[in-house]
Symmetry: C2
Amino acid sequence: MGTTSKALSLLDFFSRAQPLIGLSQMSRLAGINKASTHRLLGELADFGLVEQVTPGREYRLGPAFLRLAALREQNVPMRETAYALLETLADETGETTHMSLLQGEVLSTLAYAYADGHGTLVRMEDAEVLSLHATSSGLAVLAYSPPGFIDEVLSKRLTARTSQTKTDPEVIRASLPQIRTTGIAVSIGGFEEDVHSYAAPVFGANSACIGAVAVATPVSRMTDTLATHIKGRVLASALQLTRGWGGFPPSAFPKPEPEPIPHQSSKRA
Amino acid sequence: MGTTSKALSLLDFFSRAQPLIGLSQMSRLAGINKASTHRLLGELADFGLVEQVTPGREYRLGPAFLRLAALREQNVPMRETAYALLETLADETGETTHMSLLQGEVLSTLAYAYADGHGTLVRMEDAEVLSLHATSSGLAVLAYSPPGFIDEVLSKRLTARTSQTKTDPEVIRASLPQIRTTGIAVSIGGFEEDVHSYAAPVFGANSACIGAVAVATPVSRMTDTLATHIKGRVLASALQLTRGWGGFPPSAFPKPEPEPIPHQSSKRA
DNA sequence: ACCAATGGTTCAAATAATGAACCGATAAGA
DNA sequence: TCTTATCGGTTCATTATTTGAACCATTGGT
Protein backbone atom coordinates (compact mmCIF):
# COMPACT_ATOMS: atom_id res chain seq x y z
CA MET A 1 0.00 0.00 0.00
CA GLY A 2 1.30 3.41 -0.92
CA THR A 3 1.93 6.15 1.60
CA THR A 4 -0.90 8.26 0.27
CA SER A 5 -3.38 5.45 0.66
CA LYS A 6 -2.19 4.95 4.19
CA ALA A 7 -2.71 8.61 4.97
CA LEU A 8 -6.16 8.66 3.41
CA SER A 9 -7.17 5.51 5.25
CA LEU A 10 -6.91 7.48 8.46
CA LEU A 11 -9.87 9.55 7.36
CA ASP A 12 -12.13 6.52 7.44
CA PHE A 13 -11.77 6.19 11.18
CA PHE A 14 -13.75 9.34 11.71
CA SER A 15 -17.45 8.68 12.02
CA ARG A 16 -20.57 10.18 13.46
CA ALA A 17 -20.00 8.16 16.60
CA GLN A 18 -16.34 9.15 16.81
CA PRO A 19 -15.73 12.59 15.33
CA LEU A 20 -12.59 13.31 17.37
CA ILE A 21 -9.55 11.06 17.42
CA GLY A 22 -6.25 11.65 19.20
CA LEU A 23 -2.84 10.80 17.86
CA SER A 24 -2.25 7.69 19.95
CA GLN A 25 -5.73 6.39 19.38
CA MET A 26 -5.46 6.92 15.65
CA SER A 27 -2.12 5.17 15.67
CA ARG A 28 -3.72 2.20 17.38
CA LEU A 29 -6.81 2.15 15.17
CA ALA A 30 -4.82 2.26 11.97
CA GLY A 31 -2.04 0.00 13.18
CA ILE A 32 0.55 2.57 12.14
CA ASN A 33 3.47 3.72 14.20
CA LYS A 34 2.80 6.82 16.21
CA ALA A 35 5.55 8.83 14.56
CA SER A 36 4.26 7.95 11.12
CA THR A 37 0.70 8.64 12.14
CA HIS A 38 1.80 12.02 13.38
CA ARG A 39 3.46 12.87 10.10
CA LEU A 40 0.54 11.64 8.03
CA LEU A 41 -1.97 13.60 10.08
CA GLY A 42 0.29 16.60 9.71
CA GLU A 43 0.23 16.35 5.95
CA LEU A 44 -3.53 15.88 5.92
CA ALA A 45 -3.81 18.90 8.18
CA ASP A 46 -1.64 20.99 5.85
CA PHE A 47 -4.21 20.45 3.18
CA GLY A 48 -7.15 20.94 5.52
CA LEU A 49 -8.45 17.39 5.33
CA VAL A 50 -8.10 17.19 9.09
CA GLU A 51 -7.66 19.85 11.72
CA GLN A 52 -6.74 19.98 15.36
CA VAL A 53 -9.41 21.60 17.46
CA THR A 54 -6.59 23.01 19.61
CA PRO A 55 -2.85 22.43 19.14
CA GLY A 56 -1.83 19.30 20.95
CA ARG A 57 -5.31 17.89 21.00
CA GLU A 58 -7.54 15.62 19.04
CA TYR A 59 -8.00 15.69 15.30
CA ARG A 60 -11.21 15.89 13.31
CA LEU A 61 -12.18 16.14 9.66
CA GLY A 62 -11.11 19.46 8.18
CA PRO A 63 -12.76 22.29 6.29
CA ALA A 64 -11.25 21.42 2.91
CA PHE A 65 -14.04 18.93 2.40
CA LEU A 66 -16.60 21.71 2.25
CA ARG A 67 -14.71 23.45 -0.50
CA LEU A 68 -14.01 20.37 -2.58
CA ALA A 69 -17.46 18.89 -2.12
CA ALA A 70 -18.95 22.15 -3.37
CA LEU A 71 -16.64 22.01 -6.37
CA ARG A 72 -17.47 18.38 -7.04
CA GLU A 73 -21.17 19.12 -6.81
CA GLN A 74 -20.66 22.08 -9.13
CA ASN A 75 -19.04 19.83 -11.72
CA VAL A 76 -21.14 16.72 -11.18
CA PRO A 77 -24.39 17.69 -9.51
CA MET A 78 -25.26 14.26 -8.20
CA ARG A 79 -26.81 15.35 -4.95
CA GLU A 80 -28.94 17.95 -6.61
CA THR A 81 -30.31 15.64 -9.30
CA ALA A 82 -30.79 12.86 -6.78
CA TYR A 83 -32.67 15.15 -4.46
CA ALA A 84 -35.00 16.39 -7.21
CA LEU A 85 -35.81 12.81 -8.16
CA LEU A 86 -36.31 11.74 -4.56
CA GLU A 87 -38.78 14.55 -4.01
CA THR A 88 -41.01 13.39 -6.84
CA LEU A 89 -40.58 9.78 -5.77
CA ALA A 90 -41.67 10.75 -2.27
CA ASP A 91 -44.69 12.48 -3.74
CA GLU A 92 -45.57 9.49 -5.90
CA THR A 93 -45.29 6.98 -3.10
CA GLY A 94 -46.23 9.10 -0.12
CA GLU A 95 -43.24 7.72 1.77
CA THR A 96 -39.67 8.57 2.73
CA THR A 97 -37.19 8.16 -0.13
CA HIS A 98 -33.45 7.74 -0.01
CA MET A 99 -30.43 7.49 -2.27
CA SER A 100 -27.02 6.18 -1.29
CA LEU A 101 -23.67 5.67 -2.98
CA LEU A 102 -21.35 2.71 -2.65
CA GLN A 103 -18.13 3.81 -0.97
CA GLY A 104 -15.78 0.97 -0.27
CA GLU A 105 -17.86 -1.76 1.35
CA VAL A 106 -20.62 0.42 2.74
CA LEU A 107 -23.24 2.77 1.43
CA SER A 108 -23.24 6.42 2.36
CA THR A 109 -26.33 8.58 2.26
CA LEU A 110 -26.32 11.05 -0.62
CA ALA A 111 -29.78 12.54 -0.23
CA TYR A 112 -33.26 11.80 1.04
CA ALA A 113 -36.73 13.32 0.93
CA TYR A 114 -39.81 13.12 3.10
CA ALA A 115 -43.40 12.88 1.94
CA ASP A 116 -46.33 14.89 3.20
CA GLY A 117 -49.59 13.54 4.42
CA HIS A 118 -48.71 11.00 7.09
CA GLY A 119 -48.43 11.46 10.80
CA THR A 120 -45.63 8.95 10.95
CA LEU A 121 -42.67 8.59 8.64
CA VAL A 122 -39.30 6.95 8.46
CA ARG A 123 -36.65 9.35 9.63
CA MET A 124 -33.28 9.64 7.88
CA GLU A 125 -29.95 10.96 9.11
CA ASP A 126 -27.34 12.95 7.24
CA ALA A 127 -23.99 11.31 6.70
CA GLU A 128 -25.43 7.98 7.69
CA VAL A 129 -23.55 4.84 6.72
CA LEU A 130 -25.48 1.73 5.72
CA SER A 131 -24.09 -1.78 5.78
CA LEU A 132 -24.61 -3.83 2.66
CA HIS A 133 -26.13 -6.88 4.30
CA ALA A 134 -28.67 -5.17 6.55
CA THR A 135 -30.49 -2.79 4.22
CA SER A 136 -32.58 -3.10 1.10
CA SER A 137 -30.26 -0.65 -0.65
CA GLY A 138 -27.27 -2.71 0.36
CA LEU A 139 -28.79 -5.93 -0.91
CA ALA A 140 -29.72 -4.27 -4.20
CA VAL A 141 -26.13 -3.15 -4.64
CA LEU A 142 -24.73 -6.48 -3.56
CA ALA A 143 -26.92 -8.36 -6.03
CA TYR A 144 -25.40 -6.36 -8.89
CA SER A 145 -21.81 -6.41 -7.69
CA PRO A 146 -19.02 -8.65 -9.03
CA PRO A 147 -18.81 -12.11 -7.42
CA GLY A 148 -15.44 -11.34 -5.88
CA PHE A 149 -16.82 -8.28 -4.16
CA ILE A 150 -19.80 -10.25 -2.85
CA ASP A 151 -17.48 -12.91 -1.45
CA GLU A 152 -15.33 -10.25 0.15
CA VAL A 153 -18.28 -8.60 1.86
CA LEU A 154 -19.96 -11.81 2.98
CA SER A 155 -16.73 -13.30 4.30
CA LYS A 156 -16.57 -10.67 7.01
CA ARG A 157 -18.44 -10.94 10.27
CA LEU A 158 -21.95 -9.61 9.63
CA THR A 159 -23.32 -7.66 12.55
CA ALA A 160 -26.99 -7.70 13.46
CA ARG A 161 -28.40 -4.18 13.62
CA THR A 162 -31.75 -5.48 14.87
CA SER A 163 -33.20 -8.79 15.90
CA GLN A 164 -34.44 -9.21 12.35
CA THR A 165 -31.15 -8.58 10.57
CA LYS A 166 -30.11 -11.56 8.46
CA THR A 167 -26.49 -12.35 9.25
CA ASP A 168 -26.03 -15.77 7.66
CA PRO A 169 -23.87 -15.24 4.56
CA GLU A 170 -25.47 -18.17 2.76
CA VAL A 171 -29.00 -16.94 3.41
CA ILE A 172 -28.04 -13.58 2.00
CA ARG A 173 -26.26 -15.09 -0.96
CA ALA A 174 -29.30 -17.23 -1.71
CA SER A 175 -31.52 -14.15 -1.79
CA LEU A 176 -29.50 -12.38 -4.47
CA PRO A 177 -30.79 -14.25 -7.57
CA GLN A 178 -34.34 -13.30 -6.65
CA ILE A 179 -33.24 -9.66 -6.46
CA ARG A 180 -31.63 -9.97 -9.86
CA THR A 181 -34.80 -11.24 -11.48
CA THR A 182 -36.92 -8.37 -10.20
CA GLY A 183 -34.31 -5.61 -9.88
CA ILE A 184 -35.72 -4.92 -6.43
CA ALA A 185 -34.43 -5.74 -2.96
CA VAL A 186 -36.50 -5.74 0.20
CA SER A 187 -35.72 -5.37 3.86
CA ILE A 188 -38.19 -5.67 6.72
CA GLY A 189 -36.77 -4.42 9.98
CA GLY A 190 -33.23 -5.34 9.04
CA PHE A 191 -31.66 -1.97 9.71
CA GLU A 192 -34.21 -0.25 11.91
CA GLU A 193 -37.05 -2.01 13.65
CA ASP A 194 -40.44 -1.18 12.15
CA VAL A 195 -39.03 -0.08 8.80
CA HIS A 196 -40.05 -1.82 5.60
CA SER A 197 -38.11 -0.75 2.53
CA TYR A 198 -37.65 -1.50 -1.16
CA ALA A 199 -34.58 -0.55 -3.12
CA ALA A 200 -33.34 -0.64 -6.71
CA PRO A 201 -29.74 -0.33 -7.94
CA VAL A 202 -28.23 2.56 -9.88
CA PHE A 203 -25.46 1.98 -12.41
CA GLY A 204 -22.51 3.95 -13.70
CA ALA A 205 -21.10 4.45 -17.17
CA ASN A 206 -19.44 1.03 -17.16
CA SER A 207 -22.62 -0.68 -15.93
CA ALA A 208 -21.10 -1.18 -12.50
CA CYS A 209 -23.48 -0.67 -9.63
CA ILE A 210 -22.74 2.60 -7.87
CA GLY A 211 -25.61 2.93 -5.41
CA ALA A 212 -29.30 2.48 -4.82
CA VAL A 213 -32.61 4.29 -4.56
CA ALA A 214 -34.95 3.21 -1.78
CA VAL A 215 -38.41 3.87 -0.40
CA ALA A 216 -39.01 3.20 3.28
CA THR A 217 -42.29 2.94 5.16
CA PRO A 218 -43.27 2.05 8.69
CA VAL A 219 -43.95 -1.71 8.66
CA SER A 220 -47.49 -1.17 9.85
CA ARG A 221 -48.37 0.87 6.78
CA MET A 222 -47.12 -1.52 4.13
CA THR A 223 -49.74 -3.42 2.15
CA ASP A 224 -49.57 -5.56 -0.98
CA THR A 225 -50.96 -2.83 -3.18
CA LEU A 226 -48.66 -0.20 -1.72
CA ALA A 227 -45.70 -2.54 -2.12
CA THR A 228 -46.53 -3.15 -5.78
CA HIS A 229 -46.80 0.56 -6.38
CA ILE A 230 -43.55 1.34 -4.57
CA LYS A 231 -41.63 -1.39 -6.35
CA GLY A 232 -42.70 -0.06 -9.72
CA ARG A 233 -41.84 3.53 -8.89
CA VAL A 234 -38.53 2.82 -7.20
CA LEU A 235 -37.37 0.73 -10.15
CA ALA A 236 -38.37 3.43 -12.61
CA SER A 237 -36.65 6.09 -10.49
CA ALA A 238 -33.44 4.11 -10.27
CA LEU A 239 -33.39 3.68 -14.03
CA GLN A 240 -34.08 7.34 -14.52
CA LEU A 241 -31.22 8.28 -12.23
CA THR A 242 -28.91 5.83 -13.99
CA ARG A 243 -29.71 7.45 -17.32
CA GLY A 244 -29.53 10.96 -15.90
CA TRP A 245 -26.02 10.32 -14.69
CA GLY A 246 -24.92 8.84 -17.98
CA GLY A 247 -24.94 5.27 -16.75
CA PHE A 248 -26.19 2.04 -18.27
CA PRO A 249 -28.04 -0.83 -16.60
CA PRO A 250 -26.50 -4.24 -17.34
CA SER A 251 -28.17 -5.96 -20.25
CA ALA A 252 -29.85 -8.49 -17.96
CA PHE A 253 -31.51 -5.81 -15.88
CA PRO A 254 -35.31 -6.12 -15.89
CA LYS A 255 -37.22 -3.61 -17.95
CA PRO A 256 -39.62 -1.47 -15.99
CA GLU A 257 -43.34 -2.18 -16.09
CA PRO A 258 -45.09 -0.18 -18.76
CA GLU A 259 -47.09 2.61 -17.21
CA PRO A 260 -50.58 1.55 -16.05
CA ILE A 261 -52.14 4.13 -18.38
CA PRO A 262 -50.69 3.34 -21.82
CA HIS A 263 -50.09 6.47 -23.79
CA GLN A 264 -50.17 4.71 -27.13
CA SER A 265 -51.07 1.11 -27.88
CA SER A 266 -50.59 0.95 -31.63
CA LYS A 267 -47.06 -0.49 -31.50
CA ARG A 268 -48.05 -3.34 -29.22
CA ALA A 269 -50.24 -5.22 -31.75
CA MET B 1 7.43 17.88 0.73
CA GLY B 2 5.93 14.55 1.67
CA THR B 3 4.37 12.19 -0.81
CA THR B 4 0.91 12.66 0.62
CA SER B 5 1.13 16.42 0.27
CA LYS B 6 2.21 15.96 -3.30
CA ALA B 7 -0.77 13.75 -4.00
CA LEU B 8 -3.19 16.13 -2.33
CA SER B 9 -1.75 19.10 -4.17
CA LEU B 10 -3.07 17.56 -7.37
CA LEU B 11 -6.59 18.18 -6.13
CA ASP B 12 -6.04 21.91 -6.19
CA PHE B 13 -5.69 21.93 -9.96
CA PHE B 14 -9.34 21.12 -10.36
CA SER B 15 -11.49 24.20 -10.55
CA ARG B 16 -14.80 25.37 -11.85
CA ALA B 17 -13.09 26.43 -15.05
CA GLN B 18 -11.22 23.15 -15.38
CA PRO B 19 -13.15 20.26 -13.86
CA LEU B 20 -11.53 17.56 -16.00
CA ILE B 21 -7.79 16.97 -16.20
CA GLY B 22 -5.96 14.25 -18.07
CA LEU B 23 -2.88 12.41 -16.86
CA SER B 24 -0.34 14.22 -19.02
CA GLN B 25 -1.86 17.59 -18.36
CA MET B 26 -1.91 17.00 -14.62
CA SER B 27 1.68 15.88 -14.78
CA ARG B 28 2.59 19.12 -16.50
CA LEU B 29 0.54 21.32 -14.19
CA ALA B 30 1.97 19.80 -11.05
CA GLY B 31 5.49 19.47 -12.39
CA ILE B 32 5.54 15.82 -11.39
CA ASN B 33 6.73 12.96 -13.54
CA LYS B 34 3.97 11.23 -15.44
CA ALA B 35 4.59 7.87 -13.82
CA SER B 36 4.41 9.39 -10.36
CA THR B 37 1.35 11.40 -11.25
CA HIS B 38 -0.31 8.25 -12.47
CA ARG B 39 0.41 6.45 -9.25
CA LEU B 40 -0.72 9.36 -7.10
CA LEU B 41 -3.95 9.76 -9.04
CA GLY B 42 -4.46 6.04 -8.70
CA GLU B 43 -4.20 6.23 -4.95
CA LEU B 44 -6.52 9.21 -4.81
CA ALA B 45 -8.94 7.31 -7.00
CA ASP B 46 -8.80 4.26 -4.73
CA PHE B 47 -10.15 6.43 -1.98
CA GLY B 48 -12.66 8.17 -4.21
CA LEU B 49 -11.06 11.60 -4.03
CA VAL B 50 -10.80 11.55 -7.79
CA GLU B 51 -12.49 9.38 -10.39
CA GLN B 52 -12.07 8.69 -14.06
CA VAL B 53 -15.17 9.46 -16.04
CA THR B 54 -14.28 6.48 -18.24
CA PRO B 55 -11.22 4.24 -17.89
CA GLY B 56 -8.37 5.71 -19.84
CA ARG B 57 -9.81 9.20 -19.78
CA GLU B 58 -9.68 12.36 -17.78
CA TYR B 59 -9.90 12.59 -14.03
CA ARG B 60 -12.24 14.71 -11.93
CA LEU B 61 -12.96 15.17 -8.24
CA GLY B 62 -14.50 12.05 -6.75
CA PRO B 63 -17.61 11.20 -4.77
CA ALA B 64 -15.81 10.69 -1.46
CA PHE B 65 -15.99 14.44 -0.87
CA LEU B 66 -19.75 14.30 -0.61
CA ARG B 67 -19.56 11.69 2.11
CA LEU B 68 -16.81 13.32 4.13
CA ALA B 69 -18.19 16.82 3.77
CA ALA B 70 -21.50 15.57 5.12
CA LEU B 71 -19.68 13.98 8.02
CA ARG B 72 -17.65 17.09 8.69
CA GLU B 73 -20.79 19.23 8.60
CA GLN B 74 -22.44 16.76 10.95
CA ASN B 75 -19.61 17.14 13.44
CA VAL B 76 -18.89 20.82 12.92
CA PRO B 77 -21.91 22.48 11.40
CA MET B 78 -20.11 25.53 10.07
CA ARG B 79 -22.09 25.95 6.93
CA GLU B 80 -25.37 25.60 8.73
CA THR B 81 -24.57 28.14 11.44
CA ALA B 82 -23.02 30.48 8.90
CA TYR B 83 -26.06 30.27 6.71
CA ALA B 84 -28.44 31.01 9.57
CA LEU B 85 -26.43 34.06 10.50
CA LEU B 86 -26.16 35.23 6.91
CA GLU B 87 -29.91 35.05 6.52
CA THR B 88 -30.53 37.39 9.42
CA LEU B 89 -27.69 39.64 8.27
CA ALA B 90 -29.29 39.81 4.83
CA ASP B 91 -32.58 40.73 6.47
CA GLU B 92 -30.96 43.40 8.61
CA THR B 93 -29.10 45.01 5.75
CA GLY B 94 -31.38 44.26 2.86
CA GLU B 95 -28.41 43.13 0.81
CA THR B 96 -26.56 40.01 -0.29
CA THR B 97 -24.41 38.45 2.44
CA HIS B 98 -21.50 36.09 2.14
CA MET B 99 -19.12 34.05 4.27
CA SER B 100 -15.84 32.58 3.11
CA LEU B 101 -13.06 30.51 4.64
CA LEU B 102 -9.34 30.92 4.16
CA GLN B 103 -7.95 27.90 2.36
CA GLY B 104 -4.30 28.22 1.49
CA GLU B 105 -3.88 31.65 -0.07
CA VAL B 106 -7.44 32.13 -1.30
CA LEU B 107 -10.89 32.31 0.16
CA SER B 108 -13.53 29.76 -0.69
CA THR B 109 -17.22 30.45 -0.43
CA LEU B 110 -18.86 28.67 2.49
CA ALA B 111 -22.36 30.11 2.29
CA TYR B 112 -24.32 33.12 1.16
CA ALA B 113 -27.82 34.54 1.45
CA TYR B 114 -29.92 36.92 -0.58
CA ALA B 115 -32.21 39.64 0.74
CA ASP B 116 -35.76 40.34 -0.33
CA GLY B 117 -37.14 43.67 -1.43
CA HIS B 118 -34.81 44.84 -4.18
CA GLY B 119 -35.12 44.41 -7.90
CA THR B 120 -31.37 44.14 -8.22
CA LEU B 121 -28.93 42.22 -6.06
CA VAL B 122 -25.39 40.96 -6.06
CA ARG B 123 -25.32 37.41 -7.30
CA MET B 124 -23.09 34.77 -5.71
CA GLU B 125 -21.77 31.49 -7.05
CA ASP B 126 -21.28 28.20 -5.28
CA ALA B 127 -17.73 26.94 -4.92
CA GLU B 128 -16.40 30.34 -5.91
CA VAL B 129 -12.81 31.20 -5.08
CA LEU B 130 -11.90 34.74 -4.03
CA SER B 131 -8.42 36.18 -4.23
CA LEU B 132 -7.17 37.94 -1.13
CA HIS B 133 -6.13 41.20 -2.76
CA ALA B 134 -9.23 41.85 -4.86
CA THR B 135 -12.10 41.44 -2.40
CA SER B 136 -13.20 43.08 0.80
CA SER B 137 -13.25 39.68 2.49
CA GLY B 138 -9.73 39.00 1.31
CA LEU B 139 -8.44 42.31 2.60
CA ALA B 140 -10.13 41.76 5.95
CA VAL B 141 -8.40 38.39 6.25
CA LEU B 142 -5.09 39.76 5.05
CA ALA B 143 -5.16 42.58 7.58
CA TYR B 144 -5.40 40.03 10.40
CA SER B 145 -2.90 37.52 9.04
CA PRO B 146 0.70 37.08 10.22
CA PRO B 147 3.24 39.40 8.51
CA GLY B 148 4.99 36.49 6.84
CA PHE B 149 1.76 35.36 5.24
CA ILE B 150 1.01 38.89 4.03
CA ASP B 151 4.48 39.14 2.47
CA GLU B 152 4.01 35.76 0.84
CA VAL B 153 0.69 36.75 -0.69
CA LEU B 154 1.75 40.21 -1.81
CA SER B 155 5.01 39.00 -3.30
CA LYS B 156 3.13 37.07 -5.96
CA ARG B 157 1.87 38.65 -9.14
CA LEU B 158 -1.52 40.20 -8.33
CA THR B 159 -4.00 39.87 -11.14
CA ALA B 160 -6.58 42.55 -11.88
CA ARG B 161 -10.09 41.10 -11.89
CA THR B 162 -11.55 44.41 -13.02
CA SER B 163 -10.24 47.82 -14.07
CA GLN B 164 -10.66 48.92 -10.47
CA THR B 165 -8.72 46.09 -8.81
CA LYS B 166 -5.77 47.38 -6.85
CA THR B 167 -2.72 45.36 -7.80
CA ASP B 168 0.12 47.41 -6.31
CA PRO B 169 1.40 45.44 -3.28
CA GLU B 170 2.45 48.59 -1.47
CA VAL B 171 -0.92 50.28 -1.94
CA ILE B 172 -2.59 47.20 -0.51
CA ARG B 173 -0.13 46.93 2.35
CA ALA B 174 -0.69 50.59 3.18
CA SER B 175 -4.43 50.01 3.42
CA LEU B 176 -4.17 47.29 6.05
CA PRO B 177 -3.59 49.46 9.17
CA GLN B 178 -6.80 51.35 8.43
CA ILE B 179 -8.64 48.00 8.26
CA ARG B 180 -7.13 46.99 11.57
CA THR B 181 -8.37 50.13 13.33
CA THR B 182 -11.96 49.65 12.19
CA GLY B 183 -12.13 45.86 11.80
CA ILE B 184 -13.77 46.44 8.44
CA ALA B 185 -12.42 46.17 4.89
CA VAL B 186 -14.02 47.71 1.84
CA SER B 187 -13.90 46.96 -1.86
CA ILE B 188 -15.54 48.98 -4.61
CA GLY B 189 -15.60 47.17 -7.90
CA GLY B 190 -12.42 45.27 -7.15
CA PHE B 191 -13.77 41.79 -7.82
CA GLU B 192 -16.88 42.46 -9.87
CA GLU B 193 -17.68 45.75 -11.51
CA ASP B 194 -20.57 47.55 -9.84
CA VAL B 195 -20.20 45.71 -6.54
CA HIS B 196 -19.53 47.60 -3.33
CA SER B 197 -18.82 45.42 -0.33
CA TYR B 198 -17.78 45.54 3.30
CA ALA B 199 -16.23 42.63 5.15
CA ALA B 200 -15.14 41.73 8.68
CA PRO B 201 -12.79 38.93 9.75
CA VAL B 202 -13.72 35.79 11.67
CA PHE B 203 -11.25 34.17 14.07
CA GLY B 204 -10.54 30.65 15.26
CA ALA B 205 -9.76 29.24 18.67
CA ASN B 206 -6.16 30.45 18.51
CA SER B 207 -7.20 33.96 17.42
CA ALA B 208 -5.96 33.27 13.92
CA CYS B 209 -8.11 34.68 11.16
CA ILE B 210 -10.01 31.89 9.42
CA GLY B 211 -12.34 33.76 7.10
CA ALA B 212 -14.64 36.71 6.67
CA VAL B 213 -18.24 37.81 6.59
CA ALA B 214 -19.24 40.30 3.90
CA VAL B 215 -22.19 42.32 2.69
CA ALA B 216 -22.30 43.30 -0.97
CA THR B 217 -24.50 45.85 -2.71
CA PRO B 218 -24.70 47.26 -6.21
CA VAL B 219 -22.49 50.38 -6.22
CA SER B 220 -25.40 52.56 -7.23
CA ARG B 221 -27.34 51.69 -4.08
CA MET B 222 -24.61 52.41 -1.54
CA THR B 223 -25.02 55.57 0.53
CA ASP B 224 -23.22 56.86 3.60
CA THR B 225 -26.03 55.91 5.94
CA LEU B 226 -26.38 52.45 4.40
CA ALA B 227 -22.61 52.00 4.63
CA THR B 228 -22.61 52.93 8.31
CA HIS B 229 -25.43 50.53 8.99
CA ILE B 230 -23.80 47.70 7.05
CA LYS B 231 -20.41 48.20 8.68
CA GLY B 232 -21.95 47.95 12.12
CA ARG B 233 -23.97 44.85 11.32
CA VAL B 234 -21.22 43.02 9.48
CA LEU B 235 -18.79 43.60 12.33
CA ALA B 236 -21.31 42.36 14.88
CA SER B 237 -22.10 39.32 12.74
CA ALA B 238 -18.45 38.42 12.33
CA LEU B 239 -17.93 38.61 16.08
CA GLN B 240 -21.02 36.53 16.68
CA LEU B 241 -19.78 33.88 14.28
CA THR B 242 -16.34 33.92 15.87
CA ARG B 243 -17.91 33.29 19.27
CA GLY B 244 -20.37 30.75 17.93
CA TRP B 245 -17.51 28.69 16.52
CA GLY B 246 -15.53 28.87 19.73
CA GLY B 247 -13.03 31.40 18.44
CA PHE B 248 -11.54 34.54 19.95
CA PRO B 249 -10.86 37.90 18.33
CA PRO B 250 -7.31 39.17 18.93
CA SER B 251 -7.11 41.53 21.88
CA ALA B 252 -6.58 44.54 19.62
CA PHE B 253 -9.74 43.87 17.69
CA PRO B 254 -12.18 46.81 17.85
CA LYS B 255 -15.21 46.36 20.06
CA PRO B 256 -18.52 46.63 18.27
CA GLU B 257 -20.62 49.76 18.55
CA PRO B 258 -23.12 49.56 21.36
CA GLU B 259 -26.59 49.04 19.96
CA PRO B 260 -28.33 52.29 18.98
CA ILE B 261 -31.11 51.52 21.44
CA PRO B 262 -29.34 50.95 24.79
CA HIS B 263 -31.03 48.25 26.80
CA GLN B 264 -29.68 49.50 30.11
CA SER B 265 -27.70 52.68 30.77
CA SER B 266 -27.00 52.38 34.49
CA LYS B 267 -23.57 50.78 34.10
CA ARG B 268 -22.33 53.47 31.74
CA ALA B 269 -22.22 56.38 34.21
C1' DA C 1 4.41 11.99 44.74
C1' DC C 2 3.54 8.75 41.76
C1' DC C 3 1.99 6.27 37.56
C1' DA C 4 0.06 5.92 33.10
C1' DA C 5 -1.62 8.02 29.80
C1' DT C 6 -1.09 11.78 26.24
C1' DG C 7 1.22 14.54 21.97
C1' DG C 8 5.37 15.02 19.88
C1' DT C 9 10.52 14.16 18.34
C1' DT C 10 14.93 11.67 16.86
C1' DC C 11 17.85 9.02 13.55
C1' DA C 12 19.79 4.70 11.44
C1' DA C 13 17.60 1.06 8.82
C1' DA C 14 14.15 -0.39 5.68
C1' DT C 15 11.15 0.74 2.18
C1' DA C 16 8.68 3.20 -1.08
C1' DA C 17 8.90 6.96 -4.58
C1' DT C 18 11.07 8.48 -8.60
C1' DG C 19 11.87 9.37 -13.69
C1' DA C 20 13.86 8.35 -18.26
C1' DA C 21 12.71 5.34 -21.54
C1' DC C 22 9.40 2.54 -23.36
C1' DC C 23 4.71 0.54 -25.21
C1' DG C 24 0.35 0.48 -27.74
C1' DA C 25 -3.41 3.25 -29.20
C1' DT C 26 -5.52 7.19 -31.10
C1' DA C 27 -5.96 11.34 -33.81
C1' DA C 28 -4.41 14.89 -36.90
C1' DG C 29 -1.67 16.42 -40.98
C1' DA C 30 0.67 15.91 -45.14
C1' DT D 1 -1.84 6.01 -46.68
C1' DC D 2 2.10 7.12 -44.16
C1' DT D 3 4.06 10.24 -40.63
C1' DT D 4 4.06 12.54 -36.54
C1' DA D 5 2.58 13.87 -32.12
C1' DT D 6 -0.28 13.19 -28.75
C1' DC D 7 -2.48 10.38 -25.28
C1' DG D 8 -2.78 6.87 -20.94
C1' DG D 9 -0.14 3.67 -18.91
C1' DT D 10 4.12 0.61 -17.55
C1' DT D 11 8.98 -0.82 -16.32
C1' DC D 12 13.02 -0.97 -13.22
C1' DA D 13 17.57 0.59 -11.40
C1' DT D 14 18.56 4.72 -8.68
C1' DT D 15 17.36 7.68 -5.07
C1' DA D 16 15.04 9.84 -1.41
C1' DT D 17 11.43 9.16 1.80
C1' DT D 18 9.15 6.63 5.17
C1' DT D 19 9.49 3.92 9.13
C1' DG D 20 9.63 2.59 14.17
C1' DA D 21 11.85 1.78 18.69
C1' DA D 22 13.24 4.57 22.03
C1' DC D 23 13.10 8.90 23.79
C1' DC D 24 11.12 13.65 25.86
C1' DA D 25 7.90 16.80 28.17
C1' DT D 26 3.09 17.38 29.86
C1' DT D 27 -1.14 16.23 31.64
C1' DG D 28 -4.53 14.05 34.62
C1' DG D 29 -5.89 10.66 37.80
C1' DT D 30 -4.88 7.91 42.36
